[in-house]
Amino acid sequence: MRHGKYPFVIGFLFVPVALYVTFVIAPYAQAFQISMTNWRGLSAPQWVGFDNYRRLLDDGSFWKAVQHHGVLLLALPLITIAIALFFAFLLNVGGRSSGGQRQGVWGSKFYRVVFFFPQVLAVAIIAVLFQMVYRPNESGLINGVLMKLGFDPVLFLIRPNLALWSIIAVLIWQAVGFYVVLFSAGMASIPGEIYEAAEMDGATKVTLFFRVTLPLLWDTLQVAWVYLGIAAFDAFAIVAVLSVDSGGPDGATTVLAMEIYRNAFVYSKYGYASAMGVALFFLTLTFAALTLRLSKRESVEY
């Protein structure tokens, strides 16, 4: 592969690299720089050192957002993975075995197709959909039923202590199907003989799940945890569209992405917003490093 290699290599790489450096690498690098200034878009930026970061420490909305990421970071992966694992197990090995072939329960294919569908929809669209579902009067899907039955309507998005959980529920609603499919792929690669052997020894389905499926699925679970963790650090579209006042009521559902957007494009505090972006970056990085470190264990060869 010698003749004319370099012109070809450069020709193929030039445009992608140029585009990538212009729109991705350069902005990332500048973000760190802008976060050290008091730039508000009009006059030239002034260097203020770590002032923005010091102000972050006293910013109530910032800490509220960080706290919400903490809740999201625990609830979203734990609940999603638990539900998805349960369903994936049912769909793949929950049924009887015939001729040494593990089978899922009846209708597995149908369920897998239906569960996965929300993944195809845009989060912003889902957020609008659930605005309707959660409506606080008789026109809402849930409250329409509750009020017909004579109950008081539940103010899903209006009560501050319920709003965040209503949003988490929607994120779980969307995510479960994806992880059912992901775990199914992992379970399909576990050899049937292992289940056979365990069943011959009298293992119940519950034992099968905890002693066979779960350990052999560890790598996939780790991937799922990282993915959901990254999703927990974003959550912009859902909060921006679904929640009251984009992050309300009174900041009860705000997330860092929302605060960055608000500070930058509503208040024009570009320096301050960039400092929040840097904080978000380090939080994400810490999470990824911690996950990889804590979940490290010997993978089982099979």
Partner: protein, 309 residues
């Protein structure tokens, strides 16, 4: 759904069917079998409940799209009294859903095409040619996977503004493409590495140039990988909300679907046109159901491709 089907096979029917003598002789206890029945029964209920939770909100939206406002309030759970197609007409033209939809189609088809072209070119060269700086460029691309887009949001806005591309589809297409490159290059580079080199060598010996080799030999061979990544990119770019929100904020006629629907939902509150909003939502969701029904297998494979390394 059929209650009969939730019953597991009767014990008498099971042993002959399994065709594995070890399975029936191995256990004399009754425990596992009744436990299987209970587990399967509960499992079916759970699966059916979740299916209902997924389907009902969407179905309910489709029905509400045919109602009028008083019906939406008085009888949210009944079928519409008549099929009011005019709701869709109003959403399509007056609320501009038609325009938003078209804009999304234009932007996503351009950006996915560009992403696939540039991404596969870069991935191919990085995967199969040895040259100085190869690893550095590869890691430059892959590092993009680790950064949250929100870190770059402010500077990105000004980069696009200074290039005069703010409020243009061109700007959005270039930005989508740039942010899709890390995953595309990462995935396709791994894919190109797995292709046999004998074909490429034979092509070169036959006097085929590097460029022709890529487009006429390697690209067709990499088709399965290209399709997976293309689906991943189409769904991801179609769902984008934050980038168009920032980059197209002042050009309402250029808005994409996600942005448009979110805006209609805000306005629906002022104008009390709930049926129009339901119709708009239906227009946004229904095509996805059709596309999903047709390409269900490929879409599942494409979207999970990122996780299965």
């Amino acid at each position: 759904m059929n209650p009969q089907s939730t019953l597991p096979p009767t014990p008498a029917a099971l042993p002959p069917k399994t065709g594995d003598p070890g399975a029936s002789t191995g256990r004399g206890r009754k425990g596992p079998r009744s436990e299987v029945r209970l587990f399967a029964g509960l499992g079916h209920v759970a699966l059916a409940v979740w299916a209902v939770i997924v389907i009902v909100p969407i179905l309910w939206t489709f029905l509400a799209a045919f109602k009028n406002t008083s019906e939406i309030f008085s009888s949210p759970w009944t079928l519409p009294a008549e099929l009011r197609w005019e709701n869709f007409g109003r959403a399509w033209t007056k609320a501009n859903v038609g325009r938003y939809f078209l804009n999304s189609v234009i932007v996503v088809s351009c950006s996915t095409f560009l992403t696939m072209l540039l991404g596969s070119m870069a991935a191919y060269v990085l995967a199969r040619y040895r040259f100085w700086g190869n690893r550095a460029i590869y890691y430059l691309f892959v590092s993009g996977l680790a950064f949250p887009v929100f870190l770059a949001l402010v500077p990105l806005f000004f980069v696009v503004k200074n290039l005069g591309l703010l409020d243009t589809h061109t700007g959005l297409v270039l930005v989508y493409t740039a942010y899709s490159l890390p995953f595309t290059v990462f995935f396709l580079a791994a894919f190109f590495k797995t292709l046999p080199s004998s074909v490429a060598e034979a092509g070169l010996i036959d006097g085929c140039g590097h460029t022709r080799l890529f487009f006429q030999v390697m690209m067709p061979m990499a088709k399965p990988g290209l399709i997976s990544v293309a689906i991943f990119n189409i769904i991801g770019q179609w769902a984008q909300y934050q980038l168009p929100l920032v980059l197209l904020s002042n050009a309402k006629d250029k808005w994409v679907l996600t942005q448009g629907i979110a805006d209609i939902s805000v306005n629906a509150g002022y104008e009390a046109d709930w049926s129009g909003l339901f119709a708009a939502l239906t227009i946004a969701i229904l095509p996805m159901i059709i596309v999903y029904a047709v390409f269900q297998r490929q879409i599942q494979a494409g979207l999970t491709s990122g996780a299965v390394k």
